[in-house]
Structure formats: structure tokens, C-alpha cells
Symmetry: C2
Subunit: 264 residues, 2 copies
């Protein structure tokens, strides 16, 4: 197994190019959101008001590409395998290095992703169907609004995993332990109750695979803050390419424990 | 609020006659099962093999009506408001004192009941529909077999509470903390998947009240060991009258904490 530092260096040098899923197992991976400092307060407020979809695990100083508490020798500009650069519209440019687009007013936010709880579920013997089929998780725009903050607003986006009823109960219990990875689900059962017209045609990701008798379970998803950023249309915004996450030096379990301790 | 000791004395003297639900709030209440010593080993094994339906919280020495660890000056023969006495058949006699039927080979088992987790759910603001309607919880015989032990065998019996989907998720999380009160549910959604033909006609308790969009959630139920005892047909068996529980001196939260500590 590669350490998070070795993996970040392999990404930085171009040796590692694909998804980070399954790499540096046990370490916290994060979604990336980079926006100009003028919107940083609003976005921070948006994360705090919507903790299930936006579990904040790190934030930089304005202009700094470093977040020392997330990793040794970590450089946000080079240590992810792919970035999407938005310039005030829905169109984006894909790059593998941010040096050319970096500005001294950019603030980086890192948000927990679902990998930690998926790993916990599968290692407990509960099958996760899209992983077994080597597909991307299906994601849906719901009719549930996030709590807005300043210019940031938009719908809650959810990811869906389906299980037998008894496995659904176990998945709920296991995922609740991973508050930095979206925690417990927000909905289960009838998709139309949260505004999903057809579960077989997700808005993002791949079509689901559902076994007979399966019950769909819906978790808050990291696409939620990305949609809120698109709605805010800052003149510059940068996110990660889906699946190409920031791999941190924080042990997923230890990070969760520290959060629980602070809450107590 | 009456202390558990004061409540047991009020029951013993005949001053308190009804249900114990809502009394001595915060203290663990238990289901009663009294059987001859010749079957005690098998029944203990049955409880250990089926911990979700039979969470054992106390056991007496043969012939002793006392379980000191469950309460000060506690006498099993007088401290419950009603008993059912079975003599090798499904018919039973209802009594309020066990002195006349007591034998020196009787062993008492006390099993956790669902009151603790229901209290946790309701105090968190999640409505429990049968409590709001002042009805008994609906209970169903399933097609799931318990793990047999010696002469004890039979189906898993479940209780059902229905919730909105998001409240169902919360109820699952809250109940999991109360392992001595049946813990997390065993099923949710389609009743026919566990052999329940008509959810509106329970085998025990009152018909359910379900709101539009509710999802049914099923927990292992303390009627399970009672059915296993009836199947074993010992020459003498004694259970409590439904709702008239043994109120112990153990704080429900502290008891759960001690169990979790032992497990670690």
C-alpha cells in the first residue's frame, strides 16, 4: 500500500493518473472546492449550515495552496490528478496542474467524501452493488433545498445505494459513524418522496443495479456544494475531476473520533 | 417521579395495579420468564443464541425469588402487578402474587423490553404512532426461525412501528444504542418479505396506525421467548401480564454503557 504522501507525489509527477478510490486505504479522501476569497465567508457558512452534504475537513488561507493540517508537503495545485476550472459559466476546462490558473485570492475548501463509509460497509460484508459492478454511484438532484448562505444555494443532491432490508439497516448504522463522509442517509424507500421521477435515470453517475426486494437508500452527496458553487457563478471556481480526490494524511477513523470528541 | 423501589413496594401492596409504562422513567424495565431448573440451561442458551429478541438482564438462583443485582429488596413473587401461570398448556391463570405457585426449582429470567428505546425515540422528537394513539404496539409472527436450543424453538416475533423515511433512519440509529431493549430493527419495508400477510391484522397487540408515506420498521420482540416457552411446554411456566413489567434499579443508560464496555 502506498502512503498518502507517496501517492500525492506520484500524482504530482504524473505517475498516478486515475481514480484514487481504493488507494491509501484507511486515509481520509476529500472533495475539492476552490473559490475567490470574496465568497469564502459565504461558502464556509453554507458548509456549516449543510453539514451532511458539505462535511468540511480543511480550509486554506487566501492565496495559499497549502493546508498543512491535511498533509505533509501537500500542494493543492499539483496533488490531485485532475481539476475542473469554471470561469463564471457551466462550461469548464480540465487541467492536471493549477499553477497557470492560480491567484492570490483563492481559498481552498476540502470536504469529506463517501469513500470512508463505503469501505466500512463493504469490509463488514455488506455488498455495495455499484462497486461490485465497477460502476460509478448513481446521483440524483432532489426537491429538497439546502439551507442557503449568501450567494450559495441549490438543491440537495443525493447518492443512492440499494440493499436487502437487513443490509440497509446495517448500512445506516455503519455510515452514521462516518460524519465526515456524509454520515447516516437522509432518505430511504420511495424515490418520488424526494422528487426523483425515475430511479433508473440518475442525473449524475451510472444507472443503478438493484436486486429483487432491494430498498434504495439515499445519502447526501458532495455534488451538492458543486451545484451551489455553479449557482453562485463566481468568476473563478475549481473543483476536482469526479473520482480523482485529494488524499490526506488523516486516518479516516481517527479523524472521525476527533470530531466526536470535539462535539462532546 | 416514584423511585423503582417505591414503585415495586406500591405494586407489592396493591396500591399500583396498571401498566408500568412511563413510571420510574429512565430505569430499565424487564420481561419475566420463570421456568423449572431442568430447562434453565436450555433457556439460557436460547437467550444467548437469540440476543436481539431475548436480551438477558438478570437470572436468579434455582428456587430464589430474588435477583439482588436488579434491585434492592426485590421479590419476584410480589413486585409485578400481574402474572400469567401456564401449566403445560396454552391456557393460563392470571394472578397478582406468586407465593401460592412458587416452587424451589423455579429459575427466573429477566429480559430487556422495548420501553428504553421507545423513550429515547420519543424524547428525540420522533413520534411513535401507537403511543400517540394510546394503543398497544402491533406484533407479528414472522417466517424467520429463531436459533433453537434444547426444547426451546419457534418463530421470531416482531413489533412494528412506522415512520416517515427520515424518522425511520433516526429510529434505527437511536434504537441501536439500546442493545438491552432489542437494539436496531431486523427488517424494514415490505412486510411479506418476512412472512407477514396483512400488516393491518397483527397477531398480538392493536392494529397499526400508518400515515401516508410511512415506512414500516420491525424490531425483534419479547413475545419471541414467550412463544418458545409455550412450544417447550414445561409443566410450569410464569410470565408477566403484557405491559406490567419488572421495574429494576438499573439506569437504562448506565446498563447499556456497562454492556458496551464488557463487549469491548
Amino acid at each position: 500500500m502506498m502512503s498518502p504522501l507517496a501517492l500525492r507525489h506520484a500524482i504530482r509527477s504524473g505517475q498516478h493518473r486515475g481514480t484514487t478510490t481504493g488507494y491509501s486505504s484507511g486515509y481520509l479522501q476529500g472533495n475539492l472546492a476552490i473559490i475567490p476569497a470574496q465568497h469564502a465567508h459565504d461558502f464556509l457558512a453554507f458548509c456549516l449550515k449543510n453539514p451532511k452534504s458539505c462535511p468540511l475537513i480543511g480550509m486554506s488561507e487566501p492565496g495559499s495552496p497549502y493546508i498543512p493540517e491535511l498533509g505533509l508537503d501537500l500542494d493543492i495545485r499539483t496533488d490531485l490528478a485532475g481539476y475542473r476550472v469554471f470561469r463564471g459559466s457551466d462550461n469548464y476546462q480540465t487541467v492536471t496542474d493549477l499553477h497557470a490558473v492560480w491567484r492570490d485570492d483563492l481559498v481552498t475548501f476540502v470536504l469529506g467524501c463517501s469513500f470512508s463509509f463505503e469501505a466500512a460497509i463493504t469490509s463488514a460484508g455488506v455488498p455495495v452493488r455499484h462497486i461490485e459492478a465497477n460502476r460509478n454511484v448513481p446521483m440524483y438532484v432532489t426537491n429538497i433545498a439546502t439551507t442557503p448562505a449568501g450567494v450559495f444555494h441549490g438543491p440537495l443532491v443525493v447518492s443512492m445505494r440499494s440493499f436487502t432490508p437487513s443490509d440497509a439497516i446495517r448500512a445506516i448504522l455503519y455510515s452514521d459513524r462516518y460524519r465526515l463522509a456524509h454520515g447516516a442517509p437522509v432518505h430511504l424507500g420511495d424515490p418520488s418522496a424526494i422528487g426523483i421521477a425515475d430511479i433508473m435515470t440518475p442525473d449524475f453517475g451510472d444507472a443503478p443495479i438493484m436486486a429483487d426486494g432491494d430498498i434504495p437508500v439515499f445519502w447526501a452527496c458532495g455534488v451538492t456544494p458543486q451545484m451551489a458553487i455553479r449557482n453562485a457563478r463566481p468568476d473563478l471556481a475549481i473543483t476536482h475531476e469526479p473520482g480523482l480526490m485529494l488524499v490526506t494524511d488523516m486516518l479516516a477513523e481517527a479523524a472521525e473520533f476527533s470530531v466526536h470528541t470535539q462535539a462532546a
